[in-house]
Symmetry: C2
Subunit: 356 residues, 2 copies
Amino acid sequence: ADVKKIAVIAGDGIGPEVVAEAIKVMKKTEDVFGYRFEFEHGLFGGIAIDEKGTPLPEDTLAICKKADAVLLGAVGGPKWDNNPKELRPETGLLGIRKALGLFSNIRPANVFDCLKEASTLKPEVLEGTDLIVVRELTGGIYFGEKFRREGANGEEAVDTCVYNVTEVERIVRQAFEIARTRRKKLASVDKANVLETSRLWRETVNRIAPDYPDVELEHVLVDNCAMQLLRRPSSFDVIVTENMFGDILSDEAAMLTGSIGMLSSASLGEGAFGLYEPVHGSAPDIAGQGIANPIATILSVALMYRLTFGYHDAAEAIERAVKEVLDAGHRTGDIAVDKSKALGTTAMGELIVGAI
Amino acid sequence: ADVKKIAVIAGDGIGPEVVAEAIKVMKKTEDVFGYRFEFEHGLFGGIAIDEKGTPLPEDTLAICKKADAVLLGAVGGPKWDNNPKELRPETGLLGIRKALGLFSNIRPANVFDCLKEASTLKPEVLEGTDLIVVRELTGGIYFGEKFRREGANGEEAVDTCVYNVTEVERIVRQAFEIARTRRKKLASVDKANVLETSRLWRETVNRIAPDYPDVELEHVLVDNCAMQLLRRPSSFDVIVTENMFGDILSDEAAMLTGSIGMLSSASLGEGAFGLYEPVHGSAPDIAGQGIANPIATILSVALMYRLTFGYHDAAEAIERAVKEVLDAGHRTGDIAVDKSKALGTTAMGELIVGAI
Ligand SMILES: CC(C)[C@H](C(=O)O)[C@@H](O)C(=O)O
Ligand SMILES: CC(C)[C@H](C(=O)O)[C@@H](O)C(=O)O
């Protein structure tokens, strides 16, 4: 097979530890399925601030641009929390999304059998929950003009939320397409009773909906969606929404599954290129101890195989291996009932590699 | 006692039905405690659109301005959902908040013993949950400039989120004061890693926090808060946040209690004046059938007595009466396990009146 270039930006905290296991998994799929990967590492986030004076160094961006896909660990930590904006890890995250044109964030929220009990929701409510939040990622209030000014009542801060029809249309079409491959239900979330951007959003959704007559569409106000996710999570299939609402709702959805340590995500642009990362953060409190759960990052590789490379056989093998290892009762500390029997990061990674 | 003027804006759907029971309760407290109320009714919301051509008629606003407190039922319904903005019930709601200077929305989210099972959360997670969301109500993206324009990529919509230090300071001080009367914990929610308004918010909170050394303060990012509400709801005491985040989080918090049909709210300004309303909506599907649950509206009266009038004896009597009636097993359809034994709106109202 032709060689796929993977940019690896392990980042901060537990990032390097979990990414190392994901790379072992990728190498195993080279052996088993004959795929070929070339890894190039770049500094990103807090470590890049420390070593290069910026969270997103030029050469890291260059590595990503040359690559076919990016594997990201996690960024951030208390060390950089009080830095000025240009020297914060999050600024690197927003910068890389924009620079790579990753306008779509795909966040599956599904329940792992072995973690059903970890959810704070009742099992009968959670039963059958399997949804995807499609979040717009390069527009809205995240990227609009921001500034301070003196007003009549003292200092004022301003954020601007902007969306154009093109931005809305491309993400909504992508969500409709994803819904088509699943249970064919799309919930478009907005605040059209208050926001002008939401009214443009809803008009656009309604305009293109006739192109997807096989998909059942509902409009849900964001406040109501925050409630319905709790009340009837299993009734959602695909949820599409703008950047800020997506940030909030995708985290709510992830948490209600109880599986947050296991969830993967993809950030996509126009083509097949994508950035893949676990949903969980850099967990500075356990960094360097070799106890982090690598499964979310390993499953992000499976997502990469499916969405960027079309390597469905290897994706399935990874997912099956994870299931097998969990079914056999192996757990890292975060998901173990009996913490004394918990495996470390490497042990878990190697078990999964062995099961592929 | 001196006569208190109450503006009654019953609104749409089940609004008039539940408000009628709340007024009976107020009248009963006149008899029992010697308080005196004078009620003046005004049209508001959909019904005002139908009868006066605007959701917030001048004379309704005048009635509210002359009053000591406002009792609101609910507004909205499918009939007006596709109206242009000026002719929508929500526009009246935003208008009345602004016109009356109601910059603070207080939303208690607590669990009723008899409704513990109604929550989708596990009872052991919910145990002890008793929080208040203090939402800024007249600023932020709700009230900033909104417009459309032609951009390079087609039509564009813009919403502006603006906060000045004065607006932030008054709501945050109020939240600190409320926390003082409770478990002395305040969570300030923002998105300071992305938004300029959130950075101003957080700076302001940190600047005034030393005035409340007895209150334990934590800053929580909005996405994390959406998660923590699910994971550890009982750890929150008072949550203070800006308008849009408050809209989402207060609904999430309400829903997780399982008690949404029972929750009351207050919208306050500088003085004692306040607007009181149930958290639930106008429920057009059951309007006019005499089956709506009046308890949230009745408990909103208790909140009015406490926050606007300082009538703590009568407030307590109302709350005790509600508890007594529920403990005796009486239920409206929405909260009944055995629907065949459910009481109607009037029957429930009269039982509560009788128990005062
Ligand atoms: C760190 C932060 C800027 C980021 C976001 O809000 O997009 C994070 O919460 C996420 O969801 O990836
Ligand atoms: C109807 C709508 C404008 C309103 C809001 O968003 O403020 C409602 O959701 C609320 O919370 O009172």
